[in-house]
Structures are given as structure tokens and as C-alpha cells.
Amino acid sequence: MFYFILKRAVTSFFILLAATALMFVLAVNSGDPLHDLAELRNADRESRIAARTEAMHLDQPVYIRYLLWLQEIGRCIIPGGAQCTLGLDRVGNPVIVQLQGAIGSTFRLVVVATVLAIVLGVLVGVVTALRQYSVFDYSITFVAFLLFSMPLFWLSTLLKQYLAISLNTWLADPAMSYLGIVLLGLAAGLIWMIIIGGDRRRRLQVFAVAFVATSGTMLALLLSNWFKTPGFGPFGILVSAFAIALGATALFAGFRRRRVVHATLATAAAGFIGYLLTRGIMEDPSWLTIAGLTVVTVVVSAAIGHFVGGPYAKQARQLTAVVGVLIGFIVFLDALLHAYPSLSRKTGGRPIPTTGSSTPNLEGTFWEVNLDYALYLVLPTIAIMLISFAMYTRYTRASQLDVMTQDYIRTARAKGLSERTVVVKHAFRNAMIPITTLMAFDFAGVLGGAVVTESVFGWNGMGKMFTDGLDYVDPNVIMAFFLVTGVAAVTFNMLADIAYAFLDPRISLN
């Protein structure tokens, strides 16, 4: 394992070196960096040209400039040496300052979108494979193709122009006619009916349940003025906690083992109690508090699993830890949503912002600041996510279908295992093996695509930095961007390989 990482790191280093050289040559030749100054008629023209030539080493040949750049990078790698600047931009400021500001907002955007796309895409992909040739499968296939064929910037602009604006208008005055509620319920009923499938009776049952649940919830939300003051509330958290416990048990363990069921239910109860106890701390916490609480949650829920699980302690531990974390997430979400009314007052009532990456000069609690971040993330995240999502569903579907025809799936069925075990335990893990590779490539691609997204949504991130660098023909800025994406690309490739070996025991990293 260590040898593998070392070997990969060395190869990656040389690949990056070659790529930076190629990139540097391209960047230098992408235009004339003195273009804007050459048109000046001022007296200081010559001196400014000289200053910029000095700052950018324009009087040196390309390879010297590249070596100079490498030297700057070297300073950042070797600790304790000279100051790390990643080179100077054309006005003589260190690039690293600019990069530090940009990197955070870009990664926030890319990571959230990628994680969501993976979770949703894989989930939907598996379901479409299991319901091959159903209406659901065909619809998702078509939607995936449509999203596949859509330019990111066009989709982003559409979302911005139509979804955000009408949603904002609606949220300003949330109301829905009874007909609207019924239609929403009907739509939900249809979708669930198609996803779950089964014989005619089962379909009707599913439809009825989904219809009543959806339209009932919608009605309740409207009546309680939920869209003005969102949140789960104690009752909502109680219900969600038990729903999570039951759902996780159904998916990963089944209800045959009483002890395991009891453990997850106990975790749900403990989670609710924990929610009530921590309300004080959660008033205005810091990220450190949140991290601490997460650790406590994991430890406590695993302990519950361990002691209640009895002979099934191992399985119960894993399951209760997952349940605990999910409940914690719900509690977190609840607190975040509670900050909505006050944040809304501070920012002026348009909940979904369409440009920028955060409200400038916002002063507020932990929850307000983070909700503000989250709301700014909504649109760009949806845009990036939808396109990655399309890819993940397609590939997961293909992979899952392939796995489902394998001999070992037939063996698993011949053992009398339940369909849940066959799909979750035997098929899913095998189907995920090729997807890991995809994740690495997708992440690198999305990072590159951030250039477009940031341009549409007016984010001040690395993409903006890159396009500016390109406009000003400022190689050090372009290279700083490339350094981050390049390192991310090789790192994720390596992580994908490790994940690959982790999922597939036939591959050893030694």
C-alpha cells in the first residue's frame, strides 16, 4: 500500500511536471500581456511597460520563465524557506493571496455538487437497473440524455432566470390552490407507483399512500406557515428519527433480527433526547462544536448498537452509527432552517440568490452565516449536480445491469437470500467498482467546469481567477489555477485506485 502510494506519487509528480510545462507554454503564448498598455497614450506608458515586463519577466525566454515559476513552486513545497507566493501576478501581487480567497468558494461549490450527484445518481441508477424497461427507467433515461446534451451554462441561465425567480416570488407569498395541492399529490403518487412497481394492487396502494402523504404534508406545511418559518420542530425530528431508524434497518439489515431493530430504535430515541439536551449548545455554535457533537453522536450510537445488539453487535454497531449520524444531520438542518426568518430580514427577502457566493458584509449567528452560504449554493449546485447526476445514473445503471446477470447473483438467489440482500450485499458493491474510476474523472471535470459555472453565477472563485488570468495573459495566475486542478486530478485518480482496491479484493496495491 505504502509502496503503491509512493510509486503513484512519483509518477504523478512527473506527469504534473510535464503538464505544467505544456500548460505554461500555452499560457504564455495565449496573447500579448502588454496589449492594454500598448494602447495607452499617457506619459508613463513606457515606465509601466517596463514595470510589468520586470514583474512578469517578459524579457526572459519562455523556458527561463517556466523555471522561475518552478522555483516559486519549490519555495512553497520546501518548508521554512523563502516566502511562498506561487509567483507574482502582472501588477506584482503574490498569486497565493488571490488563490486563497478563491479556492474556498470553488471547493464548496464543487464538493457539495459532486457528493449530491454521486448519492442521487447512484441511487437512481440502481433503481432504474432494477426496474429495467419500466416507465420510470424510460423517463430517467430520457431525462439523463437531455441533461447530458445540455450545455452547463445554458442550463444554469435557465435555472437562474426561471426557477430562481419564480421560486423567490412564490416564497415571498407561499400559497397554493387546492387544485395545485391535489395535482402535486397525484404527481407524487404516480412517481412512487412507478418506482416501487409490483402488481396492480400494490401499485394502487403505493399510489394512494403517496398521494395522501404528499398532499397532506403540503397542506399542513401551508397551513402552519412553514415556508415562512421552516424547520422540523421537536415533533418533526421525533418522526424523522424513527423513520430513519426504520428505513436504515429495512435497507441494510431487514427486520428478522429483533435485537438489531431494537438497537436502531433505541438510537432514534437517544438521538431525540440528545436533540433536546443540546438545544442550548446549538444556539450559536462553532464548527468545532459541531465536530465535537458529531464525534459524540457516533460514539454514543455505536455504543447503543454494541450493547443492545447482543450476538449481532457488529452489525448493530455499524447500523446505529449510521442512524445516529443521519439523525444528527437532521438536527443540524433543523437549526439551519430556523435561521431562515432572521436571515431573510437581513438580506431583503429574496431567499434564493442568483449571483455571488455569499451576502457581502453579513453579520449574524453561525446558523445565519451558514444558511446564507447554503442558499447561495442552491442554484449553481443544482446546475452542476444535474449534469453529473445524468452521468452517474447512466453508468450505474449499466454497471448494475451487468452485475445482475452474473453467475454469483444467481448463486445468491439460489441460496434463498432475500432480494434486498441480493441487491445490496451482492450486486451493489460489485457494481460500484467501475464507478469509482468515474468519480475521479468527474470531479476533475467539474472542477474545470467551475470556470463556466462561476461565470454564470458571478462567483468570485478560481474559475473567475482563471478567466481573468486568461484575459490579462497572466501565466502565473493561470498556472495557479491549473496547479490546483492538476493536483486535484492526480490525487483523485490515486484515491480512485485505492478505493478500487478496497472494493475489489482481487486487486492488491502491493
Partner: protein
Amino acid sequence: MTSTPVYSDTQATETGSPILEVSGLGVDFSVDNEWVMAAEDVHYRVYPGEILAIVGESGSGKSMSSMALLGLLPGNGRSTGSAKLLGKELLGAPQSALRKIRGNDIAMIFQEPMTALNPVLTVGEQVKEIIEQHTDASPAEAKERAIELLRMVEIPDPETRYGNYPHQFSGGQRQRAMIAIAIANDPILLIADEPTTALDVTVQAEVLELLRKLNKRLNSAILLITHDMGVVADLADNVIVMQNGRIVEAASAADLFNAPQQDYTRALLDAVPHLGSKVGGVLAAVEVEDDGSLQISEAPRAVLAASEEAAEPTSSQTPALQLENVAIEYPGRFRQPAFRAVSDVGFTIMPGEVMGLVGESGSGKSTIGRAVTGLLPVAEGSVRINGTDIAGLSPKKMRPLRRKFAIVFQDPAASLNPRMSIGESIGEPLFLHEKLGKTELDKRVEGLLDDVQLPKSFRNRYPHELSGGQRQRVGIARALSLRPSLLVADEPTSALDVSVQARVLALLQDLQREYGFACLFVSHDLAVVEILASHIAVLNKGRMVEQGSTEQILRYPQDPYTRRLLAAAPVPDPAEQAYRREQRTALLAAGGE
């Protein structure tokens, strides 16, 4: 139904009623919106403790009719008729009910142990989960029982092996693990679908032995699905013969082999090569005494002399092929040392002679076949074809020599380019070496098709339109197109059904007589080699164990490995096979490499 502990040695009481009663079973598949019959009107009964074999060639419906019992047909299949397990109807039963039966009352063993086990789960986990599924055992108890099961199927060091993955098991061990899974919950019926087809003969013999032991010990009935008459003779009490989805004949094993009633059965049995039929008995030198001890007699002097002559001919003729101290290596990757697949092998084939090269997988027999035809480099030693050493020759110098030899491959489906017509494939060597014009080429190709008894119109067809046997004929035609003096046949019939195999072997014999080429016949199947070869070399783990005339090797083998190999190969005759089993047990007991 929950099972009681498995491991009692007491026999269950014999009941008069059948475990499984199948009547009017039919299986169809939807292909291009049309129902295609895979099996119809199948009926049989299985009684407790019985081993019933269903025999047939590919496409006979033997596998599918058994898959239908458990509702495991692929999505485009459907079944009709009735199959009752202890009086309960299986066909059309809801999946939830079938799930309780699968792996519990009826368990299955599949053909390919490599693909039938999940590669990402440990073997132990895969045994454990079936116990957990059908009993209330806790994980710890289930693990304990899983280890016990692995021990029962004779996996060495089961505690450690429990945590290993399938790829860390050998083929035979994987099949044992598969059997452990199948018997985990003491099923009353075990369906074994070609359980030994993918295994070497010695491993096959062990797995069959294991199945026989388990059958006696657990009193589960076994439904054995196979194409191998030797396996049937070894294991089965009763036999059903299927052809094209219908039952042709049903009889006890003894009756079927001694007095087959139907023409098809007779033809099938005739087509099965019977080890020892040409040389008059096999392992004649090995006698088992009443107390189970061994008596190995010396070979007659005449036989030994003939054998000597076969191994090292004294004639002045130039041998068609002569190997001396040959070693072959596969280059290692990433500073790993090269893997030496063959070392220190030498033999001689005279013009017009057929030599059999026999060994199990990993013995290096195919490697030698490839090195002789210049597909692999030789690391040490010399390979002389008609006196010219091809070891270390440059591709350019090699090229004209390639006319002198040709190779026929094992898998007829893989050895023909799917994008080239049959005519192009056969004509390629002629095109490359004789630069013939189109009309001349066509004429020669048609002549060759004629020689391998295929219609001339096949010239314009593509490989996927041909059956396995037809494809192998095309492979032979291509190999013979340049009239080589040496033909390497690498397992040319092992992917074919027995009746097809018999015809291809007959064709090969005829052609050998007509063309007079020397032939290196590589095979794992001793009975097939016996038919063709006058001289046999036995390989084990890359080394030559012994060589000699066919008679000497089969009747008076000198090496213990050869003896064990011979003893493990089943023959299609229950009585003889029973005796051979004793021979094998005695040989193994005598031990020794």
C-alpha cells in the same frame, strides 16, 4: 422449515415416497417475441438418498429444466407443468415461498466455481450467510458452523481460509466451498449442475468422491446434471437421457450402460471415448489385493522396448519435431522474476507420427504447443522442425518456416475472427505465403472445405452462423491449407459435445492418413489421446514426468503421477468405474509422488 444440525452420521429412514416429483415440465424462452422451447414434457421422480443423473448434450434442456424447479429461470424464460417437493407445488409458487426452499430444502451447485462465487466477499461470509438466512443462528454460531462445513468439504486450515476471497482459492477448492454452501442447511435435494466440468480430472475425482460421501452421510438426494458419461458411471444410481428438450430414455445406471434401449443413447455412448479400449485395459499393472494393498507388476519386455523406440527413435530420418532441454518463461511484470512455465522438456516426433502431450491445467502443455508454433519464445534448449532450430530466430527468418507447421486451437469460437468470412479465414495462410490470385484462392479454399466435409457455400458465411463442430472443421482446414509437415492440435475437441467430438476426431484421423503430417496432440483427456496417438508424453507442473508408447503409458505407467492421472479419469461403465475407484483409493493410500 428450519434445519436441525447437519452432522449426524445416522442415515435417515428410507421412505417410499419421492422427494421430488416432476411431471409435464416445460420450459420456454422468449426470443425476438417468439416462444422457443427449451424443454418439454419432462417427468421424473427423485427418492431420498438417490443420485439421479440427467445427461445430454448442449441444447438438450437439461440445465434449464432444473433451474425451473427453483424459479431461477432468466427473465425471458417461463415454465409450465408441475414439480412437487414433498407434495408441495414449486412451479408458480410465490417468490417468498421459494426463497424459503432455496438453499434450505433444495440447494444448487453450479458449474463455474470461479464466477459462481461473489468475488468481493470472503468465502466464509458466503457460507455463513446461507446459514444465517435460514436459521436463527447468531453470527458467531453461524461462523463456527461455516468453518465446520469448510472442514467437512476438506478445505485445509478452514479457520484461516474462512477469511480468504474466492480468487485466493484454487478451482477445486472453490468448488468445495460451493458444495459447503450447498449442504449448509442439510438440504433434502442437491442439484449439481455440471459440478466438475471446469475441473482437472484428479480434482474432479476428489470432488465426485466428496459428493458420494456426503450423499451417503447426509442422505440427501442428488440431481446430477452433466454431459460427461464417465461422471455418470461414477456417481449415478439412475439416469435420464435428454435430447432437444425431451427425455429419450430413463433407466438405472447399470441398465443404461449395458443395454441402452434407444438409438440416441447408443449413439451417445458409442461416441464417448473409453479409456483403455485401444490398448486393452488401463493400469493393467496395478492390482488391488483384497486387503486394499497394491500390487504393481512389471511391464513386459517387448512393451518396454517399443516404448524406448517411441521416445528416442533410432531411425535415420529427420524428425518432424525435436525438442531438447526446452524451457519456456513468461516475462515477469514490475521487477518480479519471470515465471518458468516449462523446464527441461525434450521429445521427438517422427514424420507422420501422432504424439499425445498430456497434462492437467498448469502443466505447461499448451505453452509447449504455442512455443513450437513460434507464438512464444523459448528460453533455453532447442526446438527443431524438420531439422531447423527455430529457437531464437528473428521474425523475418521465421516467416518462411511458418509454412511447415500449423496450429488448431481449443476454442473454435475464439480462434476465428468474427469479422472475417470463413473463406477469408481459411484462405489467409495461402494469401500470405503463396500470394494467390482471387480465383485460384477460391478454388483452393473450396477444396479445403471439401476436405473437412463442409459445403462449399460456407465460404461466404461468418463464424457466428456455424456450430462449434463446424467452426473447428474450419480451424482444421485453415491449419492444413499450406500442407504443413507438423500440426499442433491444442485441445481441439475439448469444447465440443461428445458426438461432435467423435466426428471431428474421425476427420482428423482421416486427414492425418491422407496428408501424412506429423501431429502434436495436446490434451487433458487421456481417452481422446489414446485414439489418435502412438506415443504419449505426460507433463506435470512444467516438467516431463514420463514418455513412451501409448500402450506402455496407459497399461504400465512407471510414474506415480501418471498412475494417479489414469486412475482419476472416469470411464463410461459403472462396473469398471467401481473397480477403478478402488484402484485410485489404493494408489492414493500408497501415496508417494
